[in-house]
Amino acid sequence: MGYTLDFSVVWHAMPALLWGCVGTMGLALAGMTLAMVIGVAGVAARDSKAAWLRALVIGFVEVVRNTPFLVQIFFLFFALPLAGLKLNPTATAIIALGVNGGAYAIEIIRGGVQSIHKGQVEAGYALGLHKGQVFRFIVLKPALRAIYPSLTGQFIMLTLTSSICSAVSAFELTSVAQRIESDTFRSFEVYFSVTFLYLAISWLLMLGFAVVSHRFFSYPTR
């Protein structure tokens, strides 16, 4: 025994760790943006007339959702250069996060679109709304409202998943932590503190999402 915890190394490394937090948030944001693009395109393709395209999307979603992110990022890490994309680790990580999040986004967005009943659209027209109004008030906003909780939950999950990108040494919080750990050998102190930095990030995101939800998606009460 005789091990005394020493958190001063964490304190000294705080500037680097906070940069790591910025890296993590940037990585997650870029990954989520790509995931949304894949999600919307995937939903369109999922309901297309071409059977092979539908099958491709279904297969993509099932494969991504039933394999670990670690294996996905390793695969892409080696596959992308073969496909002619020589990228740095961080860019590879963004693509991996985008592909992973995209598969979940397809399912979530599709659920939102399906939650709008045809009768609601017809009711909108019957009330004399024109096409743009029907799309905005009857389709878009309720669909967004329906998927908002799961989509933002998925975003937080993706932010936490981004820690795995340290396995290909992308620039984010966990890889910064690993560097500090190998410099100081204070494994427990570093990882314990970094865990709470992640907790702070996810609380911040939750708070932000709640504010947006309250501002844009709450039903008018008066």
Partner: protein, 218 residues
């Protein structure tokens, strides 16, 4: 000379798969036991206890599994106990599972209609009988799709044991990939093995979810 990906390498991956399955089973069994305790404490009616379990669950939901694993792994090392790598990561996954399953079952317990509890109380059943005979059997039914969903998460999550050096399927894949220089083939096979493990469970879970949704419509 570098070996090619052959039967020996495939066998090595299969042994890694065995460890993945074993790790999942141990963590799931441990997580079910501890998770039930968490769920019961979370719904026990005592404000302080509910608050503490809520924070416990919140910490696990708000931090990366990889970091939880690091903290448990290196934290256990600090206690001076010489634990096998398998035991250390199994404890890590068990703790994580206890929080997630606890939250899933908390939701399921609260989804059982309040009248069931009231009727049981009116019949004079005490807490343990009320839970064991009335509430939990219904809650388990409600929670089954989400529980299976978590099991799939857990199988995928055990791949992170590779990062702390425990040789399960993902780590075995890394090793074979480094030996053979055929990363695409190796990680393709590894991915396929995970898929074969997870996909039937996912399919079963979503089918059950659809059936439960249909039953609640009636």
């Amino acid at each position: 000379m570098t070996p090619h990906f052959g039967l020996a390498e495939f066998g090595f991956l299969l042994r890694g798969l065995q460890w993945t399955v074993l790790l999942t089973l141990v963590a799931f069994a441990g997580g079910c036991t501890a998770g039930l305790a968490v769920a019961l404490l979370r719904t026990c009616g005592h404000k302080g206890v509910e608050w503490i379990t809520r924070i416990y669950i919140g910490i696990f939901q708000g931090t990366p599994l990889l970091l939880q694993l690091f903290v448990v792994y290196y934290g256990l090392a600090l206690t001076g106990l010489k634990l096998d790598a398998f035991v250390a990561v199994a404890i890590g996954f068990t703790v994580n599972a206890s929080a997630f399953l606890g939250e899933i079952w908390r939701g399921a317990i609260q989804a059982v209609p309040r009248g069931q509890t009231e009727a049981a109380m009116a019949l004079g059943l005490h807490y343990s009988s009320r839970m064991r005979d009335i509430v939990l059997p219904q809650a388990i039914r409600i929670s089954l799709p989400a529980t299976i969903g978590y099991l799939v998460q857990l199988i995928k999550g055990t791949s992170l044991a590779a990062i702390v050096g425990f040789i399960e399927l993902a780590r075995a894949g890394q090793i074979v990939s480094n030996q053979t220089f055929q990363p695409l083939l190796v990680f393709g096979v590894v991915g396929a093995m995970y898929f074969i493990l997870c996909w039937p469970l996912s399919w079963w879970g979503s089918r059950m979810e659809a059936r439960l949704a249909l039953a609640s419509q009636r």
